[in-house]
Symmetry: C2
Subunit: 315 residues, 2 copies
């Protein structure tokens, strides 16, 4: 497949790097200000090297990307809430032009799910979004394969930053502010960690899952969300005395989405450690499936994008 990649952050650049390994070709790659376009295949390393050296990614305008002969638009621009722009318009343009779209950008899928599906219905292209939930962990495709109708709930840990912080607080008896600073030094938490620690990032993912289960109907504002900023070290000590710990747990059902710190058994499946994520998919006929792994990271999320590309039919 010929890929046009919007976004040259950690995910976009990893998709560009790994595309060849999966048998695909990059014909366009854009960041917010520039683009590099080559119908015979972009020289990815050169373009990224240029950007890393402080020069432009390429000499084209990002809008030029839509004029290339691509099969799949990879939407890997930063997640935005509410109207989910400009991501939503990117998806709309590609589907209107009868191309496929694979999203790593959570915004359109969480906030305007039904509109996306309506655009898809009128298009020869399909949308896929495994990369929006749980990085490398197969979540959406697992639900798709066992059919959404047979899934009753999805529960789990889907934010590695918050999970890392809680793991370290419990392990070292340190307080939140201290561990947050450590996480930022390690690059596990961003300079502005708000969406990770206040539960928004996890909530967006569980909203996406609720939309998959119910074929739409949910957006971020429907989720009940509590973050980890007010979890005191003492709560973790108390939990430990009872063989428990605390994790930021989310749940998506057909009734809605809830995200918040919860007590979980210390050695149970939900007590994943460090930045690891886990989903528990509850099914009608097959009990509970647990998938865990790396929920974030450039290469990790890129593998989910490229898995999705592999499942698209030829146009």
């Amino acid at each position: 497949m010929r890929l046009a990649i919007l976004g040259a952050g950690a995910v976009g650049r990893s998709v560009a790097d790994l595309a060849g390994e999966y048998g695909h070709e990059v014909v366009a790659l854009a960041d917010s200000s520039h683009a590099v376009v080559d119908e015979s295949g972009v020289a990815v390393a050169d373009a990224l090297g240029s950007k890393d050296a402080g020069d432009a990614l390429g000499s084209s305008d990002p809008a030029d990307v839509f004029e290339t002969d691509y099969d799949v638009l990879v939407e890997a621009t930063p997640t935005t809430l509410g109207d989910a722009e400009p991501g939503f318009s990117h998806v709309e343009r590609a589907l209107t032009d009868d191309r496929h779209v694979v999203l790593a950008n959570k915004g359109p899928v969480a906030e305007r799910y039904e509109e996306l599906r309506a655009l898809e219905a009128d298009s020869a292209g399909s949308i896929r979004f495994e990369a929006t939930v749980g990085g490398a962990i197969p979540v959406c495709s697992t639900i798709e394969d066992c059919t959404p109708q047979s899934v009753t709930a999805v529960r789990g840990v889907l934010n590695g930053t918050a999970n890392f912080i809680l793991t370290r607080m419990a392990a070292e008896g340190l307080d939140y502010e201290h561990v947050l600073a450590e996480a930022q030094d390690l690059g596990v938490a961003e300079a502005d960690p708000t969406f990770d620690v206040d539960g928004t990032d996890a909530a967006l993912k569980f909203v996406i899952l609720a939309n998959v289960l119910s074929e739409g109907g949910f957006s971020l504002e429907d989720a009940e969300v509590t973050g980890i900023q007010n979890v005191p070290g003492s709560a973790l000590d108390l939990a430990a005395e009872d063989g428990r710990t605390i994790r930021l747990i989310g749940e998506a059902t057909r009734e809605g989405v809830r995200v918040g710190p919860r007590l979980v058994p210390e050695n149970g499946a939900l007590a994943v450690t460090g930045t690891r994520n886990i989903v528990q998919i509850e099914t009608k006929n097959a009990g509970s499936l647990h998938n865990s792994g790396r929920g974030a990271g450039g290469p990790e999320t890129a593998t989910a994008v490229l898995s999705d590309v592999g499942r698209l039919p030829s146009l």
Copy 2:
């Protein structure tokens, strides 16, 4: 899709029961002696009720199944080793007739993998076999989606009977013979439990995975296999003192397959309990993915068959 189901044991009958829920139709269902065939859709409950009452499943011959207008042959007859007959011939017939095949029968996939792929290459039909490894747990499809070339190893617990026995021996301090009898009473172990306790069942699954990673080249006789029959209760006590336990662990790499009892951390991912199974898929770009769930059972395995049916292209 129109399904022709060979095998009316736990898996075959569950596929027949659940097919409608997944949007598919059963046009033929056969056991070893009889078949029921109906191009407008078999009355599954009636046919199985008849069989359960001691009468014939239907009035047709099993061979008649191949004459029906089906899209997918579901091969759910008992696993046989070596020449994997009659299962292999069933698969050969369907592919020769340009139909799809979904296997729950491990024999052909473990013992004659390259021949299956050669038949598939000459056919308009495709073969899929998620149900041969890990019941409801997505294993083959996960490897397929991240591409086999990016997987370096697959490790895990893939036999629920052996895992149940070891779990109970450790939990209750009972010896192997005692717990095996308990497992048979519960229906977790069969009257003849040999393949479960001697590691053969797990080995077949890891051989299938090694074939997927290497595009063939392995059969059961290539696997190094040790079962659990000689694990003494004292070994589990000793392990517990060190925070460990024992599980029947298998591993498939491009070098080969090994199955045997291993020490694992008591609270680690591989120490699944009861009849639960787990696979750890090691990847080049995305770290380690862990998928766990119910590795056996009629409905559980049927969901894997029906997932595969859902991923087949129209003929």
